[in-house]
Symmetry: C2
Amino acid sequence: MKIVEALAAIPLFQGMNSEQLQKLALIVADQRYSRGQAIFAEGDAGVGFYVVISGKVKIFKLSSEGKEQILHVFGSGEPFAEAAVFAGSCFPAHAMALETSRIFFFPRLKFTLLIQENPALAMNMMAALSMRLKKFASLIESLSLKEVPGRLAVHLLLLAEEQERDEVRLDLTKSHLASLLGTIPETLSRILTKMTKADMIATNGPSITLLNRDALEALASGEERL
Amino acid sequence: MKIVEALAAIPLFQGMNSEQLQKLALIVADQRYSRGQAIFAEGDAGVGFYVVISGKVKIFKLSSEGKEQILHVFGSGEPFAEAAVFAGSCFPAHAMALETSRIFFFPRLKFTLLIQENPALAMNMMAALSMRLKKFASLIESLSLKEVPGRLAVHLLLLAEEQERDEVRLDLTKSHLASLLGTIPETLSRILTKMTKADMIATNGPSITLLNRDALEALASGEERL
DNA sequence: CGAATCCTTGAGTTCCCTCAAGAGAAGTGG
DNA sequence: CCACTTCTCTTGAGGGAACTCAAGGATTCG
């Protein structure tokens, strides 16, 4: 797919005319990454930002013992590391491709010039940053106020909403899901077992069927425990 | 203090000329809050954003059992709830004045008009949002990867850096600090006692003296435990 | 069919939260 | 100025959730 076409499909660049997209295309670096390949490391200089064109990318923090906390998983059309552009400092986390991915890189300086002559782009950018902040606020809330079963319940209910069905497909391995929920695979596994025994869900490989929404919602809100 | 003067002192509005500040002043609502007064609640419509002129404000999430997780504490010159302006939805957390405070409110629609004709303001706004994201990333890392003593050590070292001395003054009650660290006052109190017994710190009311930076840094990085 | 990765289950331990109660500090009002 | 309330901080005992370590089973993929 050509660069301009790919750009036009990115939500961040909606509302831009074709002339502006052409200009954008001139500054893009079109990159490929394979599964497991690092895109940048925490502490690297933030000289620009990225947009996932295809594939999947995880953004994560590492503890000194190697435990990882996933902050986000991004798919097609989603920008990441935008904050580095404006904070003008180094990346606060690691980024790695979860599968073979095509990624556009936008260099900081050239991009800031474009943004200044393009209010629509600026507004989109602020909207993107704001949505990101809201997501972080929810994650923080979950991590500090809810136990793991509650976090899992929230996640499952969100997935069911997104996919508009009760049989949900995890688009992540269970290990990654554990990391996203701020826990470890063993704990996640045990909780899935418990939920199954309590007839809240039925699992079948990467597919989970929600059997009792009320019970899950009670867990999600912290009213009930497993 | 007059509104325009106050505006000129706000980092977010640096680089704006006096004509632009005048325009800004026209849309500001100058508000006062007393200690403990709610500014907005989670879920309220986000019809604008705020800047603290004087006093102190906490932004926090509540669990269903009433435990609170502080996301930020803002002081003079700092904007808050900016995300609501661009995400165009409701506030994702609660806001309350911690002491008598003067606060400027900027209504969403009028402010977005100003921002679109003012690239410098847009850039400042994006920088502010980006810094906020980085802070959140650190908080998430702390909450999920570090034990409470580690989080406290990080916080103390940061305070010492900000205040440029080893005798640090807490600008929060210990209960609030506990909430900011994602724990409860009892746990914080015990850890302070332990740190004191280990000769890492000396406490004297709201003042804490750092006696052994190396030990604190070892805790902060997770190499060592209490 | 092996090799690698991912998932599950068990046993033991640790951290921190809950509940409870008392001590200290601070502000109010008589 | 002192008793009073109120808020904050501290300390103790107990329990539970989740992590560590370890090993076996399942799945995928070349």
